[in-house]
Every structure is written in C-alpha cells, then in structure tokens.
C-alpha cells in the first residue's frame, strides 16, 4: 500500500532486475510498482502518477527515449525521470531525452539507488517487506 504517498515506478525489461530493484525499494520502505516497457509504464502512470520513474532505456515495444518524450508531452516536468542505463557515457546519453532528474549507471549500488529515490519519494508508514 502507498499510504496515500505516490510510489516509485520501475521500468525495466529484464524480469530479474525489475524484481530485485523493486525488492530493494520495498526493503527501504518505498511503495513501488513495476513495468516491463515504456508502454506498460505509460499505462501505469495513467492509473496513478508516481513520485519518480526509474526508466531503463533499451526496451522492447517502447524504449526509454520514446517513453520519456511521451511522458514529457503528457505531464510536462511533473513526473521526475531517473534514467537507469548500461550504456556508455550514461549521463550524456540520458541528456538526449531532455531534462532528466538523475542518472543511474548499471550496475549500481543499492545506496546510490536509495539516495536518488529519497529525493523524490516518501517512504510508506508501514514497510511492505516481501514475504
């Protein structure tokens, strides 16, 4: 549950990485949702606007660049985007999509992930630790 706070939307096509990032965020007390590509992410944002989007770039169906453009067109700067990428020169590549909140280069440290997320998202009152 989100306790009324906006959650973190993780957009990642690799199921293992998606699962583990969600687990890291839940462990730190953040409400979180997942999407496997840009299209699913836009559908999820339509249902509920998240506090921040952690966006992978290379994905099938709709990649990170297209998703970011669509997000900007629909919601302006109201949804912060954190680019998560394994590409070389991550920050330079991320700048191609315009004003991004931050960049996380894969592989990343859990502390770095949390440090980025805590700038935008608020922890749930009740930590939803996984079983």
């Amino acid at each position: 549950m989100t306790d009324g706070h906006p959650d973190v939307l993780v957009v990642e096509d690799d199921p293992d990485l998606l699962e583990i990032v969600q687990l890291m965020l839940r462990l730190s007390g953040y409400p979180v949702r997942g999407a496997a590509n840009g299209k699913e992410a836009l559908q999820a944002i339509e249902q509920r606007k998240p506090a921040v989007v952690l966006l992978d770039m290379l994905m099938p169906v709709m990649d990170g660049w297209e998703c970011a453009r669509e997000l900007r067109a629909r919601y302006g700067d109201t949804v912060p985007i954190v680019v998560v990428t394994a590409a070389e020169h991550a920050r330079a590549r991320a700048s191609e999509i315009g004003d991004v909140a931050d960049v996380l280069a894969k592989p990343f440290e859990m502390d770095d992930l949390i440090r980025v997320v805590e700038r935008y998202a608020v922890k749930s009152d009740v930590s939803s630790r996984p079983d």
Binding site: P15, D16, L17, L27, A86, E88, F108
Partner: protein
Amino acid sequence: VAATVVGVFLVAGCLWIFVTDLLLYALVEDQAIIARIETAKGGAFVMLAALLLYVVTSRSAARLAHAYATISAVLDSIGDGVLLLGRDRSISYANPAAVRMLRARSPSDLVGVGAPEFSRRYRVSYPDGHIVPPDRYVSQRVFDTGGVLNYKAILHPPGAPEVVISSTGAAVRSPDDASVASVVSVMHDITSTENLDRLRDGLFAATAHAVKTPVAVIKSATQVLAAGGSDPRRSIVTIERQCARIERLVENMLVLSRFRSSTLQLYPVLLALAPIVEAAVGEAARLAPDRDIRVEIDAGPRVYADGERLTMVLRNVMHGAIRSSCAQAPVTARLVSTRDEARIGVRYRPRLPLDHRENGVPGAVTDYDDVAVGQYVTSLIVQAHGGTLSEQSDDGHVTVWVHLPVAPENAT
C-alpha cells in the same frame, strides 16, 4: 637513347662525307662531274638521314603506343580508383574504378572537376566525421609539397553508401622546370575492411553492454541478501541464473569470433538426442524454479553432432524462450523425429505481441542483448551441422524448431 642516336648519326654522317669524298676525288678529275656527284651525294645523304629519322621515330612511336596501351589496360583493370589532375588542379582523367567509386555516369562527368566541386559532390570527411577542406586533399597539397602524400577519408556519393578510402597523391614533375605538372591520385576502397573492424568493435561493445545487466542483478541480489531482505535460496538461484547467463554470453561470443575468423572446429560424433534435450531442460528448470518447464520426448533419434555445440544451441533456445515468454505460461521442449530429420521444438507464449518481439531476425546482431547474440550463434551452429532453424506461430504461441539431419540407422 637520344644521345646514342645522335652519336651514331654524327659518326655515320662524318664517315659518309669523308669516305665518299675520298673515293670521289680519287676516281674523278673533272670538276663539273665532281660538282654533280657531290649534289647527288648530298641528296642521298638527306634521303638516308630521312630514312633513319623515319625508322627511329616510328619505332619510338610504336613503343610509346605500346606503353600507353599497357598503362591504359592496367588503369582499366585495377580495382583502385585513379584520377589524374593537370596543372589547373582539376581532374583530367578518371579510370573506370574511379567512375564506379564516385558513382559517376562516365569519365566525362569527372573531367574538369576541381577540389571545391569535388567537395560539394562527395562531402569528403575524415574518419572522425569532420569535413576535409578542399585545399587539404592530398591531391591538392601534393602540388605544393611534391613527393607522395597519403590519408584516410570517407566519401559520401549522393544517393549511395559512404565509401572509406585510403587516398594517395603523387606528384609528377615537369622535365622542363621541375615544377609539379600533374598529380596522380589513387583511391583504395577500404570500406569492407573498415566495416569488419566496426563490426568487431560493435560485438565487443555488445558483449560489454550485455554483461552489465546480469552483473547489476548479481550485485543487487548480493546486497539484498547481505541486508537480510530476501529468501536466501531465491537470491542464490537468481545469482546462479545470472552467472549462467554471463557464461552463455561469453561462450557465444567466443564461437561467434571463431566463426568470423573461420577457425571454429566442430567435432561431430554419433549422439542420441534425447539425453541432451533432457539435460538442457533440466538445467533450465533448475535455474528458473518459478517457471513451468516441461519436456516431451516422442522419439529417440541419433544425429552426427558436436555435443558441446549442440548443448549451446539448446541452452540458447531455452533461455530465449524463457526470457521472451509469459511467466505464468509453460515452456515446453519437444523432441520428434521422421526418417530423415530430428526436430527439437521449444514452445512458449510470448510476453510481448508478436510484432514487438525482441530480435525477431536471427542473424542481425544489432541489439545490445545476450538473447540476440545467442539466436545468431544458434543459427550459425545449426547451419554448420547441416540443419536449419524455423519458427512457427499458432494459437498465441511460438515454437522455435531446430531441424537436424538424422544419422542412418546402421550408423556406428
């Protein structure tokens, strides 16, 4: 040659005058007759000189014509583009290879073209993408420096793919004043070599990129495990799965590089397919315990195959199916056989619509993805075994089939 001809002519002429005069004055006393004979002797000398001149000139002209024909044949037949630039620094000759390379209709399209016009037509750039100023072309610089200059450049013929060239400009000096009278510019097309280098660099980049995601999962899973935030068994299986993924990627890249350098060796032996299929399915099931992975063995065919490479094929196909399928739907491996053909099929329900599936074209290693590399290597290995890969879609499912020729029944 010229000095020899002149020397021979001088000696022969002097001898002619001296000997005939000696004979004339010894044999004839009448001055009038001597005068007439001397006139005739002079005429004969001119005629002999003209004959000699004719023989020498025609032989030289014939040799020149032969040399011209030889040079023309060489220029017409070589694969390198050759341009000749005159004193006005514009093209005065282009060989057929240059015409092809520059996408011109005929040599006359190029004759008279100077460096500024050449720059407008072909946007000559350095390999780093910067445009080469027309006065920096080797064919222009060599007019001022003399000697031979060389550089690597990229031509962009209109409506045609770019051409990477190694261009050399060589000065031809005038025999009169030693100034540079013309320049021979040779353009060697190195596009395919460059593309091969780029492809190799691309594969390195793809490997480095594809390794980052499993490394990220391993790193994160380890941190979550250390924080006591997950089921240890689940984390260990996740880590093991990612290790297998990296191992598979490295193996695939190794095979790919050997295919590219034509150094891959297969060691085919007579193999029963059923145990190999069962082992590959067992390994996949162990690495993905949450998934419903099934095996159906309907036949026990034997094939001539390299067991190690065939195992790679099945690992790649199973991994591709698991990665591309819905988590809730089963992945089923099936072994069937006819008299001539053994078929291993892996059936799954794609998690993405069919027109959006990743890496739909086996063979195009363009995506930074281990599945794409695996598909490409799989197709190469299967083809090397005389088999084929095919894909079948029905009822929202996809089946990837590996077809292999069956070994004869009496094979040992």
